[in-house]
Symmetry: none
DNA sequence: AATGAATGAGAATTCATTCAT
DNA sequence: CATGAATGAATTCTCATTCAT
């Protein structure tokens, strides 16, 4: 299968770099091929078209991203700790890979509706992890039982995503991880006084 | 000034419709001109280029959007009510204008970095309204005093934006306004049991 | 008749300035109108189209140019002196009007074949003056009698034109008139030793 | 290197034909591509843009033109014979290629200042050949020693150019080469009686 | 006579994808 | 498997000219 051949990953890594450096619209297939050290035509032996490179990039990177988070969460005792770990891992992984952060937060969003639907599919396992975490919190009586699951998921994901995007747009100048604890508190306790 | 001439608004309305119906990338200037009932060249008497149509569209629509919210909030007594009103008005205005919702949540995000920076500028007054509301809540001792202002702002905006985007991507099938109350509770009280 | 109305000349003067300053292709009708202090539409009350402005400009300016030369020559005694005067006047008039020199030597040549044919027509009286001068020289036995009239005319005009064009392309940095005497000698005596 | 690939010359030949037949402004890239039997995009594998086609055309054709003249001159004994050969070769080459004559004398002059400066650069070696010839004539005591080199060069080139242009504008109806001898006499002996 | 808002035709260039070698 | 030369569809913007006022 193509996915395990070295050139597959080679092309994906090249795509991340090229997109991070040049932006989505200036990232021609020929530029990615050059950076990957292959001929233009070779790209099409591993990917059906340009969109497939981007979807595969997202699958590959998000797969690892989600696995890392799922693994780390697994070890934690309760929903609150799990949420903290999820936030921390979400931030840490993007803070550790600046190119990837630019690509996922800014560049890939310039894709058309079709591609964005496929990207959403890739995100589903992550959203499932969040859902699971919320349900666990409810069972543990840490979270309120009347929580609207999709809404809470959207709040959590929307908050994290917006925070990371702001950080990327500010050129990643401050330390994203410093914010994990406060974000955790905000999500768990909201804005209210105790 | 061009902005007050009828054709300026006429072209913007046409642009919203065309983009909502055809998608960002399939919205040629000639299509917008045709829908607006003017010649292609007339577009360029009112806008410097295609990007300027989109920025102006966003300025025009978001200006009204923000004014409406600011006005409604103004009448409310405390920060909690104001936040509720902000959520409700945010949802209501997009729910009332399906085309606009599609354009702002999906299509305009496909624009390049340059345009997105301009769009962010247009959003600043809205973010200022949110900031103001948070500070008021803190003064009223409704909200915790240790709140990190940018972070809270990002949570609120990120949450609302993600919820609206999900609703648009689900083809606006359910009633967005029904969620306002629950979102308000979530933001104010977080996930915790009382 | 339009030609004697003040706006006719006003527009032509504006055209010379605009073309000299902006170049042929960047000289839109609207720019000429603005410089002339009239509305775009007004141009079309005095000229049938843009080409007509340029032809009229050339007619107007070349008419004066040729009249000046013809008058000056008339006073001279023999063909050699007349040729010298023609050269001197040709150079002087262009050296005295830098804008006109740029327009006639560089910018107007970028026009299409049609316009150039019309411009050639305007030049015919000048070429007739040259022809006349040559014939006079032959009659006076100053010039050889076996001269091929069109060829000599082309040599004289081609030489003067090339010299002026080189001077304009070198940004009119040196004194064109200084060359008149040498050019006269060259044309009369050729390259040979006496 | 692209310049030696067959398609490079193929496209240039097509450009000469298309421009000669349709005129400079009606010579779209797609027309040239069609005549050359390649796709529009292929043009841009060999030329950076449309202007580059024209500059390359001129370089290619003038390069040969000048080489031919330089070679022919080289064999001649004295400056007078060399000048005659230069005139004859100048005329012959343009008379032998009607399309090229139209393109160089009429169409390419409609280009903008930028392109014309580049074209002038291509002409420099030709002007150097002329300069060399004049200096040789002076050394041989055939030509006067007080000749102003740039001025003489401009007279020679201006004369030849004007004669060829007149011939092209008269639709190349008469035999250009017939004039070589008379032009030579004119340049060498001027207008004077012996 | 004068205005100037409106018109709409027209063309260079890019780049994802193919396929003969 | 790999190559890379060739393809060709697709779109913004300019500006000479008109005509209702």
């Amino acid at each position: 299968m193509n996915k395990n051949k070295p050139k597959f990953k080679q092309i994906i890594e090249a795509a991340v770099e090229v997109i991070a450096e040049n932006g989505y619209h200036a990232s021609q297939v020929s530029k990615i091929a050059k950076k990957a050290g292959v001929a233009d035509g070779t790209i099409y032996l591993y990917f059906t078209n340009k969109e497939d490179i981007l979807v595969s990039l997202f699958e590959e990177k998000m797969g690892q991203f989600i696995d890392q988070i799922a693994n780390s969460i697994h070890k934690k005792q309760n929903a609150s700790e799990k949420l903290f770990t999820l936030i921390e891992m979400h931030f840490r992984q993007l803070a550790d890979d600046h190119h990837l952060a630019i690509v996922t937060q800014l560049e890939l969003r310039q894709s058309n509706k079709d591609l964005r639907l496929k990207i959403n599919n890739v995100l589903k396992p992550y959203l499932a992890v969040i859902d699971h975490l919320i349900l666990e919190g409810i069972e543990e009586k840490l979270f309120r039982e009347d929580l609207n699951l999709p809404l809470v998921r959207q709040m959590i994901f929307g908050t994290l995503d917006e925070i990371v995007t702001n950080w990327v747009m500010k050129d990643q100048k401050y330390d994203l991880l410093d914010q994990a604890s406060q974000v955790h508190t905000l999500l768990v306790n909201g804005l209210s006084m105790k």
